[in-house]
């Protein structure tokens, strides 16, 4: 399936995705998905469009909001990047582990490094920070600075 056809199918199926799908180049599609509709788009992409493999999940702090990007691929060829924005007061996403078991470690990374809550993820080891990492410190947030962290650790 070509990039154009994928874009068309997504726009036809989900009216709210009109103007939200961008073909950046061959093999790279970015889609801005409203958080409330994320699950239905994700499930459709995995089950109906055969984007069966999850390459990674990227979380980032966009200052006003958090962004989570799910990098899905179809037979290793086309990357479909589903982007969702989360508010900063209560950043929360649903786990996609039921559809992509490999999501486990990427979702734990979101929790550890950005403090994004992932609902539906079973209890387990944290990743990648240490067990004694201070509560409420999320290194990939823009307001977290390494030197401040060290000064506080030294003073403690």
């Amino acid at each position: 399936m070509s990039e154009e056809k994928i874009k068309q199918e997504l726009e036809d199926k989900f009216v709210y995705l009109k103007d939200a799908v961008t073909i950046q180049r061959k093999g790279r599609i970015f889609v801005q998905v409203p958080l409330s509709k994320f699950e239905e788009v994700f499930v459709y992409a995995v089950k109906q469009m055969h984007f069966l493999a999850l390459s990674a999940i990227t979380g980032s702090d966009r200052v006003e909001y958090f962004e989570v990007i799910y990098h899905l691929n179809q037979e290793g060829k086309i990357l479909l990047n589903l982007c969702v924005s989360l508010n900063k007061e209560d950043p929360q996403v649903k786990s996609v582990i039921a559809y992509c078991p490999s999501a486990d470690i990427y979702e734990r990374e979101l929790m550890d490094l950005l403090g994004i809550k992932v609902s539906g993820l079973a209890q387990g080891h944290r990743y990648p920070l240490t067990d004694d990492w201070p509560k409420g410190e999320y290194p990939l947030r823009k307001d977290w600075k390494a030197h401040t962290h060290h000064e506080e650790a030294q003073n403690a």
Binding site: A53, L79, L129, T130, H150
Partner: protein, 409 residues
Amino acid sequence: MHESGDVKIPIGPQHPALKEPESFLISLRGEKITASSVRLGYNHRGIEKACEERTYTQGLYLIERICGICSHSHSTCFVQAIEEIAGILVPGRAKYLRTLIAELERIHSHLLWLGVAGHEIGFDTLLMYTWRDREVVMDLLATLTGNRVNYGINTIGGVRRDISLKQKEDVLKGIDILEERTKYYIELAKNETTLLKRLQGVGVLSHEDAKKLDAVGPTGRASGIARDVRKDDPYASYAELDFKVISVNNCDVYGRTLVRLGELMESFSLVRQVIRKIPDGPILVKAPRKIPAGQAVSRYEAPRGEDLHYVRANGTEKPDRVKVRAPTLANIQSVSKMLEDRYLADMPIVIAAIDPCFSCTDRLISIRDTHKNEKNTVVWETIRLKGIAWYKDRGVDFTALNKKLTKLF
């Protein structure tokens, strides 16, 4: 699931059977593994965060140091993303040189793996043979780039060193030797009882499980998933080169061995094609210091599988976000499946068979020296100076090493 009646053995984070720190909790019933879980993060160094506080060029040197084995994989993946955002058209010659170093790196990495696999099954002769042969490709990398591991060949917009006619001849000579050796190892893999008995049926990962768990690289290809970024989403000069994606349906450690041996043969062919086809022209175009706002996802087939970098630029000279997903992180989740219902004694080779690289996988936070109860932040410069002083104290003369390398060819 770990059950209460089973014996639980923690293996790691520091353990003689592991080459890097990671921690496994194994539940045993007799000699059989009933459940296993893995805890990662011991090599976390803060590279993604550190990249946000450095310029793109500084970040490139840091990214190259994510891994000491597949350093070129990470640096290429990173520069490709930046070049895509900035719309930089990399010259053809630079793309071919990136491909050349990439394939030489794959050769050294796969030979290294073969040695480790030999060692893990008590076949240390194989380790000695392969690591001796690997020196040929390490020397080639050193003559081409100046370094055995962190090559520093990539820069934004191209590469930093050209290849001379003499170097091309040296590469071809080295490849001939290694091809002969690899043919011998392929014969060995087909006929040597020790290898067959110790690798066949061990660490089984079915095709369905490999697909479900998104296994990548030789781990996936040994379970019949014929995916390779070089073919599926070509970068550098791979679209212009002819090669096969090696995949088998053995689904075990033996299959992973066959895939890597087959890939070595493909890499020799790719190196020869690159030397034959490399176009003339510049090796570098000037890149702006400030990268315009934008984002890109770059993929690269590292020796261990798909490497993925996401970079977002904000118009300044520093990136807004750099995300690295190394292949080991994709493959580590299959290990528990491979260990299920296997013997404890198989564990070292099963883990080694995904060719894990935890330096690639874990990437965060500044180092604190708590020696003598003093807490100091150790900066890169101090580490570098300590390294130089350490070698100097022991009389290591790099000039002599260079002379030795020149003599070899």
